[in-house]
Amino acid sequence: MVSLSVILPLILTVSLPISISPESQRLFDRVEAIPDGSTILLTFDYYPSTLAETEPMSVAALRHCWRKDLKIVTLSTVGLGGPNIADRVMATLAEEFDKNYGIDYVNLGYKANYQAVLLGLGQSIRSIYPTDYYGTPLDSLPMMTDFDTYDGFDFIYIISDNGIVDYWVGLVNARYGAEMGAGVTAVMAPKFYAYVRADQLIGLLGGMKGAAEYEYLVEAEGMATSGMVAQSMVHMTIIAFIIIGNISYFATRRRNVS
């Protein structure tokens, strides 16, 4: 039943309305308010195993940023997947938006020991990343010549499937005052709503639903939007099974008592 609930909506391409949560709207509004030509840091802090939730967020975020002509620096604190995914996703969208590497975007890649990386970037980006993902010295990339710390970024957009968000907030936001928002997997989302409430995060995208909301906001419906109908169908199926299970349990108990 669960498989059918997933497969049928994908084949039939049914669509359902998407309601926007205040957290997604706040994140969208903040990015929308960044002046054109500014530079932001967009992270790919996720493994390939969570691509279904996180990649649509990255794609939607990139579309939003490049429609506004923002410059993007990207990095990953996850070695397995992150930098390669960033490379693939950014190269694909760069072609669509006619963006050039080194001028409009830079991929810094991965460095081990995320705590040292996050703290070190606040002192000198070059000390942590003397070269980019491809081994090119940062000073030879035109868009990297003007800044060397978090001060150069108007916003930090974290896409993550792990607890690194705690460190972005606890080390970078708390110590350097860098403004940030996040897109995280559904499993992690409940914990991070507290950060939004305390204004430590500007906004939050939670799982595939959050990704679908952002796709709707940037008017570029993609993988998350197409998956949300299947998501709703599976939830209805699970709810139906819970109700049937409870009715069955109480009916059996009543029969046994009588």
Partner: protein, 212 residues
């Protein structure tokens, strides 16, 4: 070989391995174990190469040999000391490295937890409790969170028996904990279903081209 053919082969391998993993839904079988072992081996091999290149080569070897940053020899030696754990007689030497790592991690984590989590969250829990600070909806929300935090903390206070006012408050705390568990469970279901949807989209769209 054309690029399309190579891509088809790559997608077919990924599709086959996905089906191998799904076969565990029936029962444990050789196809599942094959995929599992390939995944574990590939991940381990890739990670070793990644750490070798990004840490040993880029952060140790190149800075020392090209830039003359000889201070990095010290962390290099600390790293090597970790290998003394392989010897029963010399393993005590590795405690120097472990002590450094523990001290470093504790120092960073305490700062991160205190300034990034505890203080801002406590401050926010107190914020907005006074009448007239915001609209009635925010005010009610602030009080719900305040009561939830206090009652949950009291539920985890074990130095006095949960009777009387303390017992009632702890029971209120249980309600908040249950709501929290429910929210986490709901989101976890959504996360797991999302992964299934992602795999189905891969199989049906990218591999078999059954959907657009």
């Amino acid at each position: 070989m054309s690029a399309d053919f190579v891509q088809f082969i790559e997608l077919s391998i990924a599709g086959f391995l996905t089906l191998c993993i799904f076969s565990f839904l029936y029962k444990d079988n050789p196809f599942y174990r094959l995929a599992e072992h390939i995944y574990a081996g590939l991940s381990a091999g890739y990670y070793v190469g990644l750490i070798w290149n990004s840490v040993i080569v880029q952060q140790l070897w190149i800075p020392i040999t090209r830039n003359g940053e000889f201070m990095l020899i010290i962390p290099g030696i600390l790293g090597l000391l970790m290998f003394t754990r392989l010897s029963q007689n010399l393993s005590f030497v590795s405690r120097v490295s472990i002590a450094f790592v523990m001290g470093n991690t504790a120092g960073i984590s305490i700062m991160q937890q205190l300034h990034g989590y505890v203080l801002p969250q406590v401050a926010d829990t107190m914020a907005g409790l006074a009448v007239g600070t915001d609209n009635w909806y925010s005010l009610a929300g602030a009080w719900v969170i305040f009561i939830g935090v206090i009652s949950t903390l009291i539920y985890f206070y074990f130095s006095k028996e949960h009777k009387g006012v303390l017992g009632v408050t702890a029971r209120v705390g249980i309600v908040f904990i249950m709501i929290s568990f429910g929210a986490h469970f709901g989101y976890t279901v959504m996360g797991r279903v999302s992964l299934l949807i992602g795999r189905m989209q891969f199989l049906m769209r990218d591999w078999l081209h059954l959907i657009n």
